[in-house]
């Protein structure tokens, strides 16, 4: 197991590895988020997905999210791994693990991490439907960045 807290990989992600990375004696709570490939999206059937990343920058942005979380919720520990390449239905695309002494922070920081991943981490998803394929744009369903660039300063949109 690689001990890096923030990773982009092309093999399956192991949940327990992420939990092991954040476990500490002072933690009473660990939350994990597991993002998997869903078969149906708004009535359309996905056959498989392809994820592409600008890897060095993606890792850098994951670290940035980690730093943001540290400053918002001190005493949490975060690990994030995102997978790229071809993923089939139910395959895990991303896992986020957060530990903290108390549960509230572990939930909040975890949810914050996935929202930020969808804003600033250069990873793209190509949906392969039964009848075609598309690169998916911004999942926040904004057509452009109102401020000219992704919200990179940790503000909540």
């Amino acid at each position: 197991m690689n001990n890096e807290l923030f990773q982009i990989v092309d093999e399956p992600i192991i949940l327990q590895d992420l939990v092991d990375k954040v476990e500490r004696r002072e933690a009473g709570a660990v939350t994990t988020f597991i993002g998997t490939v869903r078969e149906w999206t708004k009535g359309k059937r996905t056959v498989y997905l392809e994820y592409q990343a600008y890897k060095p920058m993606a890792i850098k942005m994951l670290k940035t999210i980690g730093d943001e979380i540290q400053s918002k919720w001190p005493n949490t520990k975060v690990a994030i791994t995102h997978r790229v390449g071809r993923l089939d239905i139910s395959d895990i695309a991303v896992i986020i693990a957060v530990s903290s002494p108390h549960r509230k922070q572990a939930y909040e920081a975890n949810e914050y991490a996935i929202e930020r991943i969808k804003q600033i981490v250069p990873i793209w998803k190509k949906e392969h439907w039964e009848d075609g394929e598309t690169w998916i744009g911004d999942q926040l369903e904004k057509v452009s960045y109102p401020k000219g660039k992704p919200n990179i300063k940790g503000e909540v949109l």
Partner: protein, 77 residues
């Protein structure tokens, strides 16, 4: 030379994921225009740009040796 990286649909439209361009001191905005002409890319208004792995604005300048990545709206997670 500056290195340009393309991702997602831009990569497919251009038929390549990386190119070297003999440019210097050019703004992101102008570089976008160059690329759009060169490859007949779909419009780049919603495409972000990173210079050396940091998000940059249209007015920011690219210089020799920089790595410029064109980043369509992201869809990870």
């Amino acid at each position: 030379m500056i290195t340009v990286l393309l991702f997602a649909h831009l990569q497919e439209e251009a038929g390549q994921d990386r190119l070297e361009m003999d440019l210097d001191e050019i703004t992101i905005g102008d570089l976008k225009k160059e690329l759009q002409q060169k490859f007949r890319l779909s419009q780049l208004d919603h495409v972000m740009v990173a210079i050396n792995e940091e998000y940059a604005l249209n007015d920011d300048k690219v210089k020799q040796g920089d790595v410029v990545a064109f980043i369509p709206p992201v869809s990870g997670g």
